[in-house]
């Protein structure tokens, strides 16, 4: 039964990662709402955890990732340290960007996470370019470039996909389709058959997956990642999911039908689905609960550490701008 054990192991690892993502974001939300320690906007990925967990599971640590404003889950799943991430959200020293970027610019180059982005779709061309760099350097890494359904209406979607296809670059584009663009239903503002059809028209093979099913995401991601790594050309993964909460932590999402929203969130909760699957496979409820409790404890500790961390030193406002003409020397 080696095969089954390995499968169960993966299933548990995927569940664990999803629980950690959700626990991280719950703590981030509490830091914002209860503790008022977060001033800027943070975008939570409740209900979308399977995409982060499933896709990142397919990557090597030295593979690269670029993400969006809603990037906590991706970053954590790529291997970043939650305490450093939480410090970043609180703008503290020791944050993974030294407290200078915050939630929307979270990055951990040490694990190949080359940054969230505050500009929708901007990471699409940048990620294609990271893959271009890999091609020039000649190694076998690949890039995962994640964006939302709203991003497919911006020019960089076309330009970045065409670029990747023309130059035959090792990049897996992932459209995390939660059906919403802030307060707008994306479908109302999007013509045609959607993300995958657009990718195909630009010559990139595209597959759609149920993003609430972390096993399906992990399977498809593994296949596409292997294909991209082997063939050195782009592929496209369209993950259908649902944004369980508001656009930002302070958005009550009053603009959507709450019955529908709740039903969709309930049916599409990837964590509950995975727990049910594992329970059916014979994993004890206590073990599943322990995973959750462990994740909670880890993230509570991360928040505690972040809240206790000092703010960055004043000089940080002038460092890491540029070498030539640095404001640390001459700022006016």
């Amino acid at each position: 039964m080696r095969e089954t054990n390995r499968d169960i192991g993966r299933s548990l690892a995927l569940l664990t990662m999803m629980e950690r993502i959700r626990a991280f974001e719950r703590q981030a939300e509490l830091a914002a709402t209860r503790d008022r320690l977060v001033l800027g906007a943070i975008h939570l990925s409740y209900g979308q955890e399977a995409v982060a967990a499933g896709v990142m599971h397919a990557l090597r640590r030295d593979d690269l990732l670029l993400s969006t404003h809603r990037g906590h889950g991706h970053t954590l799943a790529k291997g970043a340290d939650p305490a450093a991430m939480m410090k970043e959200l609180l703008g503290r020293a020791g944050g993974c960007c030294g407290g200078k970027g915050g939630s929307m610019h979270i990055a951990d180059f040490g694990v190949g996470m080359l940054g969230a982005n505050g500009v929708v779709a901007a990471n699409i061309t940048i990620g294609a370019g990271a893959a271009h760099g890999i091609r020039l350097l000649g190694d076998d890494r690949i890039v995962v470039d994640i964006f939302g359904d709203g991003a497919i209406n911006r020019g960089p979607f076309l330009e970045g996909l065409n670029w990747a296809a023309v130059f035959s670059l090792p990049v897996l584009f992932v459209c995390e389709d939660n059906e919403w663009s802030a307060t707008t239903r994306t479908a109302r503002m999007t013509a045609g058959a959607g993300a995958a059809a657009r990718a195909r028209a630009i010559g990139i093979e595209a597959e759609t997956v149920d993003g609430a099913d972390v096993e399906a995401v992990a399977d498809l991601a593994a296949e596409l990642v292997a294909r991209v790594r082997r063939d050195r050309r782009p592929a496209f993964l369209h993950a259908r999911t649902w944004r369980a909460g508001g656009h930002t932590y302070f958005d009550p999402a009053a603009y959507r039908d709450s019955a529908e929203a709740e039903a969709r969130a309930r049916e599409g909760d990837p964590i509950e689905r995975q727990r049910a699957r594992l329970a059916a496979a014979g994993i004890a409820a206590a073990e599943l609960d322990a995973i959750r409790a462990g994740a909670m404890a880890e993230m509570e500790a991360a928040l505690a550490a972040a809240a206790a961390a000092p703010f960055p030193p004043a000089a940080a406002a002038f460092s890491d701008v540029q070498d030539i003409g640095s404001p640390a020397g001459e700022a006016y």
Binding site: G101, G118, V119, R154, T184, F311, A317, V321
Partner: protein, 322 residues
């Protein structure tokens, strides 16, 4: 005369313009739900989704399409959400909208208001905090509006919608909730500064949120017996050079304060233009207060470090009089 917020003042100005002229319409992301700062609240309900139009996340198309619609005779109010995102549509704004009338020898017009909420606002970090008014002042064809109060956000929005030129309309995000009296009949013309307070010792020139800080600084100085003449430019092109020259002619001292990066900011234009023309009147070197040439950090303590405050303005004025 009514008391209202800065956001509400512009909202009412738009609503009144839309009632008066069916060619006026608004377009931008999420407008149907009132806009990301609530600054369009209720407009979709009153005017319908065609005239208060949602948009895909396509800043280049929002800007470009609104321009096309302006050329055929409609009068769009374009919402860019954050001034930073307007950089996704710079070609459309600078190469197309600003230039078309001239390139086409006067055949076309672009009566557009391009709203770009700007400035630092509670840890929004480097991609959601910029103040780029100097850029637009440098581009022929554009009018640049930088309102600082509810009254001005009302009067200037009305004037911007009425204008046949493209108006880059920069509201400061930190002012949305600011309250004040609004007189709908108050006169306004682009290029006419507002005299925030009178004084004969020093001229302080500012705009947008920093004009409010300058007024506050004048209060501090007044308590010390120093009379500051605070001029809120309100628009940067055209700008009220005559008012500034008149004032500096009296005070002999010029301090310009703004939130944007100081290097190549619009403060440089004010200092240069005044020095060229009123050199003889100056009793002390003119001075600028702007942000250092660094990026805007997320951490609140660092962000605070980059702000030009009323106290900094008062301190600089005092030094100039010493």
């Amino acid at each position: 005369m009514a008391r209202m917020t800065y956001a509400e003042a512009a909202r009412q100005a738009i609503a009144e313009a839309m009632r008066a002229d069916p060619r006026v319409w608004c377009v931008g992301e999420d407008l149907g739900r009132g806009g990301v700062f609530g600054q369009y609240r209720g407009l979709a309900e009153e005017f319908g989704p065609e005239r208060v139009s949602d948009a895909p996340i396509s800043e280049a198309a929002i800007m470009g399409a609104a321009f096309g619609a302006a050329m055929v005779g409609t009068r769009p109010v374009v919402e860019m959400r954050f001034a930073d995102f307007a950089l996704c549509a710079t070609d459309e704004l600078v190469n197309q909208i600003a230039k078309a009338r001239f390139m086409f020898g006067g055949q076309s017009r672009a009566p557009m208001v391009i709203r770009q909420p700007m400035g630092m606002w509670r840890s929004s970090a480097a991609q959601h905090s910029q103040s780029l008014e100097a850029w637009y002042a440098h581009i022929p064809g554009l009018v640049v509006a930088v309102p600082a109060t509810p009254q001005d956000n009302y009067s200037m929005m009305r004037a911007a919608i009425a204008a046949d030129d493209p108006v880059v309309y920069l509201e400061h995000k930190d002012l949305w909730a600011m309250e004040g009296e609004v007189d709908p009949a108050a006169p306004f013309a682009f290029g006419q500064a507002r005299h925030r307070c009178q004084g004969d010792d020093i001229t302080i020139v500012a705009w947008s949120k920093t004009a409010n800080h300058a007024e506050e600084a004048a209060g501090i100085l007044a308590a010390e017996g120093i009379g500051a003449h605070v001029i809120d430019l309100r628009s940067l092109w055209p700008w009220d050079r005559a008012a500034v020259l008149e004032s500096v002619g009296r005070t002999g001292r010029l301090l310009v304060a703004h939130e944007a990066v100081q290097v190549a900011g619009f403060g440089a234009e004010v200092v240069a233009a005044v020095t060229e023309r009123a050199f003889g009147a100056l009793k002390a070197p003119p001075r600028r207060l702007g942000a250092p040439r660094t990026l805007i950090p997320y951490a609140p303590n660092l962000e605070e470090r980059l702000r030009v405050t009323p106290r900094m303005i008062a301190d600089a004025a005092r030094e100039m009089l010493a």
